[in-house]
Amino acid sequence: MAEIAEIINDKIKHFGRERVALLPILQGIVKEKNFVNNQDMVQIAEALDISAADVFGTASFYSFIDHVERGKYVIRVCKSITCEMKGKHKVLQALEDELRIKLGETTHDKKFSLLQSNCLGLCDQGPAMLINEEAYTHLNPVKVHEIINHFRNLSK
C-alpha cells in the first residue's frame, strides 16, 4: 500500500500546494484503501495548509469519498428508478444474503462493503452496480452469486 504521504506529495507535484489538490488527494487515498480516516485528513490539512475541518467538510460532501472504514471491494448498487423497476430489490437482497451483511455494512473480513448509489448512468442495462470502479449490469441473483464468488476467489 502506497504511503499516504506519497499520494499527497504526488498530487501536490501535479496540482501545486493548493486547495485544488484536495479532491485529487482524497480520491487518490480512496483508490488506495477505499476510505479516508482522521489521520489522513489531518495529514492532508497540514500538507495543504488548510483546516482539518475543511477537509472533512469537503470529503463528506461527496458520496465517493468515504470517511468510515470500507472493505476491499465497495459495492454500490444503483437505486435509481429504472434499476428499481428492473429488480434492484432482488439484487440487493441477494447481495445481503450472499455477504451476510445489511446495506451500509462491511463484512467481518473487511472484504466487502455494501452500499447504494444514485444513478450510475447504466439505466438501459439495469439493475446495475459498481464494485470499486467496475460496472456490472443486467444483474440478477444468480449473477450476483457468480460475481461475489469471483471476488472471493480473487482475494484468496
Binding site: 482522521n38 485528513m41 490539512a45 483546516s51 482539518a52 475541518a53 477537509v55 472533512f56 467538510g57 470517511h67
Partner: protein, 594 residues
C-alpha cells in the same frame, strides 16, 4: 464609481454601481428580512428569506447576493414575495427545535422574529427536525445545539473569515447537511479558540455560551461564601444594551450598584488588575529588551506579544506552537485578579480563601475556558470560580427584577477596586498597547508620552493591523541602553489579523518589539460574550464609550494607581518578583491543529 438608477417599491433611487439590491433598499429604509446575511461576513445567499421580485423575471432574486442594476424595478413586498418568504420561514421552522420558551435566545432570536412577523403556522409542514440530536457541552465556553441550527453558515464564515480558525465547516449534503467540527469531534477536542464570535453571529440558539449564572446565584445565596465579583472594562460600555439603553452608553455606576443589589459581597474591578498587568508586562518587555539588546541573549524572544486574550492564546497554541516564546508570560487581568483574590485579598480581609467565590464578568466566551485551564490554580484554589458573559450578567439583573435605569450610581469597593484610564482602555483594540506605552515611557524617561492628553491615537482605530514607532529619548540613567532606540509596536485584532502578524514572525521578518493581539474584532468591546447583535457601527460606539470613560478618570496611567503602589508595597514586593512569578505569570502549551 458611477451611479445607477433603479426603483424599489415604486421609489426611484440613485445608488453607486456595484452595491446589492439589499444595500440599495437599506438606503431608502426599505427593510428586507435577512438571516444568513451579516455585515461582517461575505455574502452567502443561502437562506433565501431576502428574496425580492425583479420585474421581468419569473424567479425571485436573493437581494443580498444580486447587484442592483440600472433600470431594475424591484418589488420587496408583492404577494409573490410575501408568500415565498412565508414558505421559506415555515420551512426553516419545520427543521427547527421550536421549544422557544426554554431557549437561551428566546426573545433575541432572528428566526423567532421572522416567524412572528410572517405569522408562521407551525403545523403548516411536517417536522423534519432530526431526532436524537445531542447538545455538545464538552467545551467550557461554547454549547452547540444542532436542533436549533438553520444552516445559514454565519458561524462557519465567522470562524473562517474573521478568525482564520476554521474550526467549523458545513458537512455532508442534502438533508444530512449540517454544521460540524472536524469529524464532528466534541468542541473541546478541536482547534476552537472559544472566542465566541460564532455565538455573537448565530441568529438562533444553536451556538451559545455555556452558562454558569446558576452557580453564581447559589454562591450568593450561601451565607458561608464570600462572593467577589470583578467586571472587565468593556462590560460597562455594553451592558446597557441588555437593559434598554442606546448602544454606547456607559453604565459603570449603575452596574456597580446592581452587583451589590444582587447580593455580591464585594464589587471589584478587573481594571485594577489591568493596571497591574501593565506594570508586570511593561517590566517584562523592558527586561526582554535589555536581555536581547544588551546581553545578546538569544533565548529571549522578541517581539513580545500580549497574552490577555485567552482566545488568542489558544489560537497561537494551536496554530503556531513553535512560537510560544513570544507570548508574554503575564496572566490575563482576569486570572491575575483571581489569584490575588484568594491570596492578597483574603489576607487583607481576613477571610479563608476556601470560602471565597471569585466571579468574573467578562465580554468574552474564552474567559470561561481560561478560568478552567488546569494551571490556573496558583492560589491553591481555582483562581476564578465562574466566568460570566455580559449577556449572562444582564440576564441576572433582569432575573433580580432590578429597575436598572433608576439605580443610583456607586463606586467599586476596595481593595482591588481602583483603576486608571489605562486599565479602562484594555477594552478596545490598541488599548493595552496605549496603556503600556503610557507607563513604559514614563518609567524609562520620567516624562509622559509625547502625545496630547496622553492619547496615543496611532494605535487606536479599526484597521486590522496597525503599527507605530516611538523614539525613546532622554532616558533615566538606569535605562540608558534604550537611549535613541526606536521602539516598533503593532496592534492586531481579530485572529485573522493575528495570523498576519504571526506569519511575519514565523518567517523571521517581523521588525516589531511589542505587539498587542486581541482575539476578537474590535477587541473586548466586540467580544464573544457581549450583547447580540454586533456590527462595525455597534463596535465603534462601544469603543467611543471606552475612550470617554478613560478621559473621565482622574488618573490615566497604570503606575499611578495608588492601589497598585500599595499592593507592591504590602504584598508583591516588586514587579517580576518571586510572588509575581508565582501568582501572576503562567506558561503555555503546544496544541494540535485540528
Amino acid at each position: 464609481m458611477s451611479n445607477i438608477t433603479l426603483t424599489i417599491d415604486g421609489q426611484t433611487i440613485e445608488v453607486p454601481k456595484g452595491i446589492t439590491i439589499l444595500e440599495a433598499a437599506k438606503k431608502i429604509n426599505v427593510k428586507i428580512p435577512t438571516l444568513c446575511h451579516h455585515e461582517d461576513l461575505c455574502v452567502a445567499g443561502n437562506c433565501r428569506v431576502c428574496v425580492v421580485e425583479v420585474k421581468g423575471k419569473h424567479r425571485l432574486e436573493a437581494s443580498c447576493a444580486v447587484p442592483a442594476e440600472q433600470g431594475m424595478e424591484i418589488l420587496t413586498n408583492s404577494a409573490k414575495v410575501r408568500i415565498a418568504r412565508q414558505d421559506i420561514v415555515s420551512l426553516l421552522v419545520s427543521e427547527h427545535n421550536t421549544q422557544c420558551t426554554t431557549c437561551y435566545r428566546n426573545t433575541n432570536c432572528e428566526l423567532q422574529d421572522l416567524a412572528a412577523e410572517y405569522n408562521v403556522d407551525g403545523n403548516r409542514f411536517l417536522s423534519v427536525l432530526k431526532p436524537n440530536i445531542k447538545i455538545d457541552k464538552s467545551s467550557w465556553s461554547i454549547e452547540k445545539d444542532d436542533s436549533k441550527c438553520i444552516r445559514c453558515q454565519r458561524c462557519v464564515r465567522t470562524c473562517a473569515e474573521l478568525q482564520h480558525v476554521n474550526a467549523l465547516t458545513a458537512s455532508h449534503k442534502g438533508h444530512e447537511m449540517k454544521i460540524s467540527t472536524f469529524m464532528d469531534l466534541p468542541f473541546n477536542e478541536v482547534v476552537c479558540t472559544n472566542c465566541g464570535q460564532c455565538v455573537n453571529r448565530c441568529p438562533t440558539g444553536a451556538l451559545t455560551e455555556r452558562r454558569y449564572f446558576d452557580q453564581v446565584w447559589e454562591a450568593i445565596g450561601d451565607p458561608t461564601k464570600h462572593v467577589v465579583m470583578n467586571t472587565a472594562p468593556s462590560v460597562r460600555v455594553a451592558l446597557g444594551e441588555m437593559l434598554g439603553y442606546e448602544v454606547g452608553t456607559r453604565v459603570t455606576g449603575k452596574m456597580v450598584t446592581a452587583m451589590r443589589k444582587l447580593g455580591v459581597d464585594s464589587v471589584l474591578d478587573t481594571d485594577f488588575s489591568a493596571d497591574l498587568t501593565i506594570i508586570e508586562e511593561g517590566n517584562e518587555l523592558l527586561t526582554r529588551l535589555k536581555k536581547v539588546l544588551v546581553d545578546g541573549d538569544k533565548s529571549v524572544k522578541l517581539p513580545m506579544i500580549t497574552s490577555c486574550s485567552p482566545g488568542w492564546v489558544k489560537f497561537i497554541e494551536h496554530m503556531f506552537p513553535n512560537h510560544l516564546g513570544h507570548l508574554s508570560t503575564c496572566k490575563s487581568p482576569q486570572q491575575m485578579f483571581g489569584a490575588l483574590t484568594k491570596t492578597y485579598y483574603a489576607e487583607q480581609k481576613g477571610i479563608d480563601p476556601k470560602d471565597i467565590v471569585s466571579v468574573a464578568i467578562m465580554p468574552c466566551a474564552a474567559k470561561k475556558y481560561e478560568a478552567n485551564r488546569p494551571e490556573m490554580n496558583a492560589s491553591g484554589y481555582r483562581d476564578i470560580d465562574a466566568g460570566l458573559t455580559t449577556r449572562e450578567f444582564g440576564l441576572m439583573i433582569k432575573q433580580a427584577g432590578l429597575d436598572f435605569k433608576n439605580l443610583p450610581d456607586s463606586d467599586f469597593d476596595s481593595i482591588m477596586g481602583q483603576s486608571t484610564g489605562a486599565g479602562v482602555i484594555f477594552g478596545a483594540t490598541g488599548g493595552v498597547m496605549e496603556a503600556a506605552l503610557r507607563t513604559a515611557y514614563a518609567v524609562v524617561t520620567g516624562r509622559s508620552v509625547p502625545f496630547e492628553n496622553l492619547n496615543i491615537t496611532a494605535v487606536r482605530g479599526t484597521e486590522g493591523v496597525r503599527s507605530a514607532s516611538i523614539k525613546v529619548e532622554g532616558c533615566l540613567p538606569e535605562w540608558k541602553f534604550l537611549e535613541g532606540a526606536v521602539l516598533n509596536v503593532a496592534v492586531a485584532h481579530g485572529l485573522k489579523n493575528a495570523r498576519v502578524i504571526m506569519d511575519e514572525i514565523a518567517a523571521g521578518k517581523s521588525t516589531y518589539h511589542f505587539i498587542e493581539v486581541m482575539g476578537c474584532p474590535g477587541g473586548c468591546i466586540g467580544g464573544g460574550g457581549q450583547p447580540i447583535p454586533t456590527n462595525a457601527e455597534i463596535r465603534a460606539k462601544r469603543t467611543k464609550a471606552i475612550y470617554e470613560e478613560d478621559m473621565s478618570k482622574p488618573i490615566r496611567m497604570s503606575h499611578e494607581n495608588p492601589e497598585i503602589t500599595k499592593i507592591y508595597e504590602e504584598f508583591l514586593g516588586k514587579p517580576l518578583g518571586h510572588k509575581s512569578h508565582e501568582l501572576l505569570h503562567t506558561h503555555y502549551q503546544k496544541r494540535h491543529r485540528h
